[in-house]
């Protein structure tokens, strides 16, 4: 494996990283009293393994040419990525207090021009994988071995552009490209399968020419193994890790919420949410 860099607090376990990412996200959500906190809690394990096991980057130089590129096309997941970027030392922790406020570098929707470590502007869903294809082609032209990792939501599988990009990535044999799909089974109007059924997902990506793994996206050991397998896979095809996640994972009373896409929580409930997260794992 290429140098996997854990830039701050090297003795912290991945489970502890994930806990701290959840903790950061809850503190940000509390600033606004609302937000995409269920997504952040659900994807925290994926981000912990990405940022503290798989990705190569320099916390003090987010534009370092040799970095692996992490592309967040789901702008509304920004709260989750901010939480990870804070844990990675790319964003100072005290900025967490400004989340979603006027003149903050941490707007509710992730945008490249606002935030160090945010590679692309998300928000118009379904664009991320197309940009990833172009970056992979560009990096190949530059003889770079950097990875391009694109985090997609399952809702983005509804967009035709995602599948255009999927076909293209296989066509160009983009073997440095890893797509992570957060299959949280939720979209804006309700459960994903009621919006536009996309199963069987593994077979679809396979048929599109991708190396496919489908795992429990809240299982850190499974995530580590999947990232390693995606990196070491010998065939020149793009790789996708389909991550089945549980929304609001780690905060029981939020996991039970039916309206999970955009959560409003009463001011006093945020304390209970932090409480429900429990102590940092040993």
């Amino acid at each position: 494996m290429a140098e996997a860099v854990a830039p701050v607090r090297p003795n912290v376990s991945l489970a502890q990283r994930a806990w701290r990412i959840r903790h950061n996200a809850l503190r940000m959500a509390a600033v606004q009293g609302q937000g995409y906190i269920a997504q952040a809690l659900g994807i925290a394990d994926v981000l912990a393994v990405a940022y503290f096991h798989a990705l190569r980057y320099r916390a003090d130089d987010p534009h370092w040419e040799g970095r692996d590129r992490f592309l967040l096309s789901t702008g509304h997941y920004a709260i989750a990525l901010y939480a990870a970027l804070i844990e990675a030392g790319i964003i100072p922790e005290q900025e967490l207090e400004t989340y979603g406020s006027d003149a903050s570098r941490l707007p509710m929707s992730g945008m490249a021009s606002y935030t160090p470590g945010m590679e692309i502007s998300g928000g118009s869903l379904g664009q991320g994988l197309t940009i990833a294809v172009g970056m992979a082609l560009g990096l190949r032209r530059k003889n770079s071995d950097a990875l391009i990792v694109n985090l997609l939501s399952d809702g983005e599988l509804n967009e035709g552009a995602t599948w255009e990009a999927a076909m293209s990535a296989a066509h160009w044999r983009l073997d440095r490209l890893i797509a992570l799909v957060d299959v949280n089974s939720q979209q804006a109007d309700g459960p994903s399968q009621q919006m536009l059924g996309f199963e069987p997902l593994a077979a679809k990506w396979q048929a599109f020419g991708w190396h496919v793994q489908r795992i429990d996206g809240n299982d850190i050991a499974a995530l580590v193994a999947a990232f390693d397998a995606a990196r070491s896979h010998a065939q020149p095809s793009p790789r996708v890790i389909l991550c089945d996640t549980r929304m609001a994972r780690g905060v029981g009373f939020l996991e039970q919420r039916e309206k999970a896409h955009f959560i409003r929580v009463a001011a006093d409930e945020w304390q209970s949410a932090l409480g429900a997260l429990g102590e940092m794992p040993a």
Partner: protein
């Protein structure tokens, strides 16, 4: 924790346009469509994973078997709406204004408009009505759609306008793009002698010093400014122009020809290619040259932030409009 901290301003996607204490009506589009659907069995509702966010869920609850959830696939939504229309149905297709105008443009243009099909594209978050940043701020939707032949364009002011526009656009045969105000929508126009008529501009109040020609929420702003300036004996006429295309040329020319007034066109849209430029060209074609001013959004990608902050910064709040009009007098 933040419990006792003052509530911070927010760049959330959804924000109400209603001022504190303003009268509102909830989901006027959804209720009007459900009411109309009782009389028009060929109407169907279609959305791209934004039923709840465009108030179409009200229609969906009333007529579940006439509601089509197409998933977050705006191109598919518009193509499928065209197909439905070809088979004799009248689809009301909803998404956000950015995704209809930017992502689905080609499908609306060729599959719907070129065939003059009876599809009503109704879109939330028009202009600057979201603090979420450029991905959700449809600052150029009118410019984009004004270029599309056959398409009628409607920019309602408030809940009453939305309610009355729904049956009016359904009665029109052909494609329509309507800017949607959703959720808790301000109610303003019921205090005026007004009703929505497709293709008609209406003089809501008269005045001798200023003529404001406006559409959408800027009419609400203009009415508030007119009230403020009345205290200083400055008369502000407000010509509400909810149909952007085709423009009510006769009404605009008649008002603009009255001497002694400055003309201010106010729109919740970039100054490029919207109502302001449409009116300017109209006046010039008819050799009318009153002192002319445009109020609209700058030609820029706008910031994320709280909506009131942004409306002030970009000059479309009531206060900003009043200041600018005073400076022009």
């Amino acid at each position: 924790m933040s419990t006792d901290r003052p509530r911070l301003t927010t760049s959330a996607m959804i924000a109400s346009l209603a001022a504190e204490g303003q009268r509102i009506r909830a989901a006027p589009f959804g209720h009007a469509l459900a009411a109309l659907a009782a009389r028009r069995p060929e109407i169907v509702g279609m959305t791209a994973d934004l039923g709840k966010y465009t108030d179409l869920h009200v229609f969906a609850a009333a007529y579940p078997d006439r509601f089509y959830q197409m998933g977050m696939a705006e191109q598919l939504l518009m193509g499928a709406a065209a197909g439905m229309a070809r088979e004799g149905f009248v689809p009301f297709a909803t998404t956000y204004a950015v995704f209809a105008s930017r992502r689905a443009y080609d499908f609306i243009c060729l599959a719907i408009a070129e065939e003059n099909l009876d599809v009503k594209v109704c879109c939330a978050l028009p202009g600057l009505t979201s603090g979420y940043g450029p991905s959700h701020q449809a600052t150029e939707d009118l410019a984009i759609f004004r270029g599309m032949p056959n398409l009628v364009i409607v920019d309602p002011c408030d809940a009453l306008d939305v309610e009355q526009a729904v049956p009016a656009i359904a009665a029109h045969r052909g494609p329509v793009y309507m800017r949607l105000l959703r959720g808790q929508v301000p109610l303003v126009l019921d205090e005026y002698d007004y009703s929505f008529e497709l293709g008609r501009a209406k003089l809501l109040r008269d005045g001798n010093e200023v003529l404001v020609i406006s559409s959408g929420i800027m009419t609400m702003r203009a009415l508030e400014v007119a009230e403020q300036l009345r205290a200083d004996r400055i008369g502000v006429a407000v010509l509400h122009t909810p149909t952007i295309k085709p423009l009510d040329e006769a009404a605009i020319l008649e008002q603009a020809a009255k001497p002694g007034r400055i003309v201010v066109v106010a729109e919740n849209h970039t100054v490029n290619g919207g109502l302001g430029e449409a009116v300017a060209a109209l006046l010039l074609r008819h050799r009318l040259a009153p002192p002319f001013h445009q109020v609209g959004l700058p030609d820029a990608f706008l910031a994320a932030g709280a909506l009131p902050t942004l409306h002030d910064r970009y000059g479309i709040s009531t206060a900003a409009l009043a200041t600018r009009i005073r400076n022009w007098l």
